[in-house]
């Protein structure tokens, strides 16, 4: 009983002695955190007007936030009377070591091979990267869905980053009937690709005869365009090919079979005495 009373008295004495400083320190901490969040928010908005580089904006605002937090915590500790000199030295030393290690071993640090703003395809998912965190990546598909993909799911499977290379090849395969003018078809395809300002001159657009199939000749038109213009250019090329071929009288192929009827005449390859041979076999 007396021990408990002693402890209560000690605590009361402690609170009376240091209570004001602790309350002030907590106040500094709370105000500082609010201030840090406001600064982060406004700096993000301000930087967003100056540049579209989201990675840069994110890095700068996070560094600002951490610095303000650093000073706020230091001021709060200072208010409580704790000598922050040692803590500051430890923090600065740790930061320097950390930064040095990152610089030396940056090539070995695993990172996601895409940035915010890249268009990627992971599995069946195609969309633009809106945000990245340590755990997941936020992707917005082209039909407006926002999907959160765990980073390990992305890294454990192959995926395509359409921003690694600036150009992409358009592939348009066309099937025409055997009785159509092949050279004319090739010429039209080549003209349509060359006259489009979006196709690159190097590598040049080309047309190949890919195969002689059962009921059609397969032509392959290939041209390179900038990544951003790929889909629209390809769609319009399909449209142009269809309309021009129709106008020029070049017919597209469709699956078909030729059936030959023989009226009275012996079919080619059939032996003269087929009936007697069939009797012998039976």
């Amino acid at each position: 009983m007396e021990d408990n009373l002693l402890k209560v008295n000690q605590m009361t004495g402690f609170v009376l002695k240091y209570g004001q400083e602790v309350i002030l320190a907590l106040l500094i901490l709370v105000v500082g955190l609010i201030l840090a969040n406001l600064v982060k928010k406004f700096s993000r908005q301000w930087l967003g007007k100056m540049t579209s580089n989201r990675t840069l904006i994110s890095s700068v605002t996070n560094i600002l936030y951490v610095l303000i937090l650093f000073f706020v915590v230091g001021a709060a500790l200072q208010q409580t009377g704790i000598n922050t000199l040692v803590i500051r030295r430890i923090l600065i030393g740790t930061t320097l070591i950390f930064v040095t290690l990152i610089i030396i071993f940056r090539h070995y640090i695993p990172t996601l091979p895409y940035k915010v703003g890249n268009t990627i395809k992971t599995g069946e998912l195609l969309g633009k990267v809106e945000a990245m965190s340590l755990i997941n990546t936020r992707i917005r598909t082209f039909d407006g869905n926002t999907i959160y993909v765990p980073n390990n799911k992305v890294l454990n499977d192959y995926f395509i980053n359409y921003h690694v290379t600036p150009d992409r090849r358009i592939k348009v395969d066309v099937a025409i009937r055997y009785d159509q003018d092949l050279l004319k078809a090739k010429q039209i395809l080549e003209i349509l690709m060359i006259s489009d300002p979006r196709t690159l001159s190097t590598p040049r657009p080309v047309v190949w005869v890919l195969n002689l199939e059962d009921s059609y000749v397969k032509l392959g038109a290939r041209a390179w365009v900038e990544n951003l213009k790929y889909w629209k250019t390809q769609c319009e090329l399909f449209e142009k090919i269809k309309l021009r071929f129709d106008y020029e009288g070049i017919e597209f192929a469709f699956p078909q079979r030729d059936v030959h009827f023989y009226h009275g005449a012996k079919p080619f390859g059939q032996p003269d005495n087929i009936e007697s041979e069939m009797m012998e076999m039976a």
Partner: protein, 103 residues
């Protein structure tokens, strides 16, 4: 002649790759015939002739419903390239003019 030189001559003389497209049209303002372009001459060109011809067609459709409203009566609507030269209609490879009208 090197292949490179030959290809360069071919690129210049056979099919010119335009830098972009505009829609050329004319309209009657009082008694004057004004020639204008969409997009304007100080604006960025369209990079697609399909889009340009579609725009030209839509302008012609407006004109068909104009009912003597001179503000939206457009004539001689066709697509031109960056040099102002008429561009063949992509579906036929032939010149095409919507709402032709002789001056």
């Amino acid at each position: 002649m090197e292949v490179k030189e030959a290809l360069k001559i071919i690129d210049e003389q056979w099919i010119r790759k335009p830098e972009g497209f505009r829609v050329h049209f004319q309209k009657l303002v009082d008694v004057d015939i004004i020639t204008d372009y969409v997009p304007g001459t100080d604006e960025e060109l369209l990079d697609s002739d399909v889009v340009a011809w579609r725009l030209a067609w839509k302008l012609s459709q407006i004109s068909n419903k104009a009912n003597d409203d001179e503000d939206i009566m457009f004539y001689n609507i066709y697509v031109v390239d960056d040099l102002g030269e008429p561009v063949d209609f992509y579906a036929t490879g032939q010149p095409k003019i919507f709402n032709p009208r002789k001056e």
